[in-house]
Subunit: 104 residues, 2 copies
Amino acid sequence: MLGALADHSRRAIVACLAERPRAVGELADELPISRPAVSQHLKVLKDVGLVSDRAAGTRRIYRLNPAGVAALRDQLDAFWNRALAGYQAAVEQPAGEQGTEGDL
Amino acid sequence: MLGALADHSRRAIVACLAERPRAVGELADELPISRPAVSQHLKVLKDVGLVSDRAAGTRRIYRLNPAGVAALRDQLDAFWNRALAGYQAAVEQPAGEQGTEGDL
DNA sequence: CGCATCGGTATGACAATACTTACCGTTCGT
DNA sequence: ACGAACGGTAAGTATTGTCATACCGATGCG
């Protein structure tokens, strides 16, 4: 899921969608890539649940999926939590395991 | 910075480092990749400030950098904030711009 | 009912990146 | 001081992924 935000164009699409829902053509008009590329990125983003699409006539309106965004944020938060917990466990060692620890 | 976490091996390294600080050989032993690959990933992670290294004799102990982790989390949080703000602005429209909006 | 527009898909090329093997410098132990 | 081990770097290869052009289906309008 995090990998979906790795690509630069994909982040641009998400940023564009964060401001307001957009159609595929609108996104392609704002971005320096073609419509098919936008479609593929949209497919990836929809596959991971970050965006959702809505049919409006011949247009397809894409918008951010708050649930997916929240899920990603929660996942990241859990990750940070674990990371900081491990860091705390490391610095909470009064009797250092290796005496080579100088300082930080 | 987010791109640093795009790679699968890099996320695995970060996950491994989240549990406890590790040497390069330790990481390579846990991961299905060779030591040089780990070194290169570690270089990337250190370059973006996500990890920091400490010399312990001939070994090099790597651990997560809480500052970098916090910075990344803050950046992501700002991003989510903007995204949800835009979403709220969209749903806060009592007089729909397009009458085509049925429901969610 | 025919035409136009919009989206998605398939295919191919190009680029970027990750991985491996080989080599070198550095540091510890004997 | 020599040998061993650990880690970083360099170059080459392979894989992955992104982008563009071309084609097709669907929807709306005249």
